[in-house]
């Protein structure tokens, strides 16, 4: 899932300083799973902003909505009937949701309430961590299912580097070395011979180096 985190309240309230009629829109997908932009967080943000503004003596009118998801036009359409009544829209979706809403509603000012962090997993309730950089050329079959791009701090394809000590990365004693994980995993799988293969220089054109990316499935298009 895409993992996100709410921006500091001060930053959000400064974005809407001069607005009095606000729509807050949550998203029912990834940010619901990582508890950043689900219905509950929409309620909390609305309540918090209400209090900030009441305290300043500038009360604000807030409507709350939570869509199934904000990265699909059909769900964004549900706002069509009333979005125009609001001076500003605060989206509690990831960066993709915020942008797609702004694209669909050209006359509405759409603002982000979250900082989109990474593609990751739920390690345990309340703890999420990064697993994928969306580099566009998956190498997990070579590395025992542990991604060298996302899990190695330097994204090395042939590691570990000299900064790996006692299985930890040099950037933090709490961070396990990605290549340590790869070697352990290959060893457990009895595939350590794969570690001896040199992975060639990465083709970063499938990553952001190739500009904004797009996937087209002609067979699915209408």
């Amino acid at each position: 899932m895409i993992v996100a985190e709410r921006k500091p309240l001060e930053q959000i309230s400064s974005m809407i300083e001069s607005n009095n009629k606000i729509l807050i829109v949550g998203c029912g997908e990834c940010v619901t799973v990582c508890s950043a932009g689900r219905k509950k967080e929409v309620e909390i943000l609305a309540s918090a902003l209400n209090m900030v503004r009441s305290k300043e003596g500038k009360p604000v009118e807030i409507r709350q909505e939570t869509l199934e998801r904000q990265c699909d036009g059909e769900y964004l359409e549900q706002l069509r009937g009333f979005i125009g009544e609001y001076e500003v829209v605060i989206s509690m979706a990831c960066g993709a949701g915020v942008q797609f809403m702004a694209e669909k509603y050209k006359n509405s000012l759409v603002l982000p309430a979250l900082n989109t962090k990474f593609i990751g997993v739920t390690e345990e309730q309340g703890v999420w961590s990064e697993r994928c950089h969306a580099c566009g050329d998956c190498k997990l079959h070579l590395t025992g299912g542990v991604c060298p791009i996302a899990r190695c701090s330097k994204s090395l394809l042939n590691g570990p580097c000299g900064g790996s000590a006692n299985g930890k990365c040099e950037i933090s004693p709490d961070l396990v070395c990605g290549w340590q994980l790869i070697i352990e995993r290959l060893s457990d799988l009895g595939q350590l011979e794969k570690y001896e293969e040199i992975i060639p220089i990465n083709n970063w054109s499938t990553n952001r180096d190739g500009g904004p990316r797009k996937v087209v499935r002609e067979d699915l298009r209408l």
Partner: protein
Amino acid sequence: MRLNYPSNVKIIKVPCTGKVDVIHLLQAFERGADGVYIAGCLEGDCHFLRGNLRARKRVEYTKRLLDEIGIGGERLQMYNMSAAQGPRFAEVAREMTERIMTLGPNPIRAKKGEAEMETG
């Protein structure tokens, strides 16, 4: 026991403090409460095992949020006491009332009062 405690304390009953969510606490302040405290069972004695521990974490989170909002996290507090500790209940009610009296009214209510005075 017929114990006295300050009459400004309004009690809201919940099946377990684990039922209390962040939004419930925020809404109390939004609607003008000067202070809120949660009286949970003693830690380790929760009938639902972790209800009061969950409540404690939510209170801690909400305290930080109240600081961000500018209302002040010190207006919110978690207490633990058993159903047999009547005197402790009254003591906590007095303690919290004193704390809130020192802090003064909820800044939102104070501001609303000013606005009403102005509009007459």
